[in-house]
């Protein structure tokens, strides 16, 4: 087992370095903006490390419940895509996808999700 910091703690250390120490000192506005974007990328990474597995399991549960078959996330998503392209989405597809979209946003953009609730 690795010593601390954990992976998520390391991501957070680099994020705050970029946002608090590097960003404000940059003269070039485009570079300053990209430093903020990079800090945001590390926030996403940190949340993914902490929550990723749990949310993926939840997504798999939702999808296998919807489709009535077991499988992993890629194959269940592919199967649902095939059904939709055939014009035959299972009943409950929209609400299942809305739930999954919220799971994805908890990692990708929790502030956006808060704003939409």
């Amino acid at each position: 087992m690795q010593n601390r910091p954990t992976a998520a703690e390391l991501a957070e250390a680099v994020r705050s370095f970029l946002e608090e120490e590097i960003g404000p000192g940059l003269q070039d506005a485009r570079l300053r903006f990209r430093a903020l974007v990079a800090a945001n990328a590390l926030s996403i990474l940190g949340r993914d490390l902490l929550l990723g597995e749990e949310l993926l399991r939840e997504e798999v549960d939702v999808l296998s419940g919807l489709l009535g078959v077991p499988g992993d996330a890629p194959s269940l998503n592919e199967e649902l895509c095939r059904r939709i392209r055939r014009g035959d989405p299972p009943a409950g597809t929209l609400s299942a996808l809305r739930r999954i979209a919220e799971l994805k946003l908890r990692i990708a953009s929790p502030r956006y999700l808060e704003g939409r609730r």
């Binding site: 974007v37 890629p74 994805k104 956006y112």
Partner: protein, 332 residues
Amino acid sequence: MTVELRAALEARLSSLFGGKVQVERFALLAGGASMEAWAVDAQTPSGPMPLLLRRGAGGRIYRDALSLAQEHRVLEAAWKAGVKVPRPRGYLGELLGREAYVMDRLQGETVGRRLVQRPEFAAARAVLPGQMAQELARIHAIDPAPLEFLPGTGASSPVLRGLEGLTAQLASLEEPHPSLELGLLHLRRHLPSDGPRVVCHGDFRVGNFMVGAEGLSGVLDWEFAHLGDPREDLAWPMVRAWRFRADPLRLGGIAQPQEFIDRYAALTGRSVTLAELRLFELLGNVRWAVGALTQARRHLSGEERSVELAVLGRLAAEIEHEVLFLLEEGGG
């Protein structure tokens, strides 16, 4: 490199303006893998001239985007039709190996977030909806005949062609996106397939307008011009991503859409219902989601390494969420 480019530009501008031209300021404003923009202050025989140089950057340009030669011709057509655009000053051919053209450099603000949020633009925001309608009416009246290169000239309906293109682009991502598939299914079932075919700007939204104290002074970024259904352009500025977090104001974060739609209808005789616009807004969101995912692929493939493009792949989840929201509103 900059010195050589500047010298090459001076020579080209001198023949363009018929006399000695001196470049006094030459600064890169924006550069990506496919395009550069340079601010150029030129001393010409008829006086000082603030110019903007658009030049290729060697990378692959987006599928369906116009070449710079074509973009310059569209800009000329728009200028002649009375659309507020930066006046095109000449296509330069290849400038140190990459094609380029010059146009007037307009003063003002383009950044959507500032236009939507800052108090000093309150007066501009009040007049923008009417001005946007006016400019869009002029754009849609541009004679397409001399612009034979515009995408969308084929026989099929522009809406169906757009859906087919998006379906193919989504498939090429090789990543399953059931929410976008559901959006496309809804559009295939409900979008009106017939409509007038006009010159569309293709990216008509806050963020691509030059805005000053008196409001809109120039419609910019013409590389996605094509022949299409006018409702594509009407609904595009309503897409949530272009409201810059002022979400309740559905027209670009500046107003409700009614005035814009009414004014456009009064000017063109084309009335559009809000329900129709909702469908085209859904189309716009699916298009932007696929676009954002495609941008992330530019990073992943190594075509243009950029943390901004990379993050778009994850942020596309916001647009997927919006697609599902619009589907739920529209009764699935």
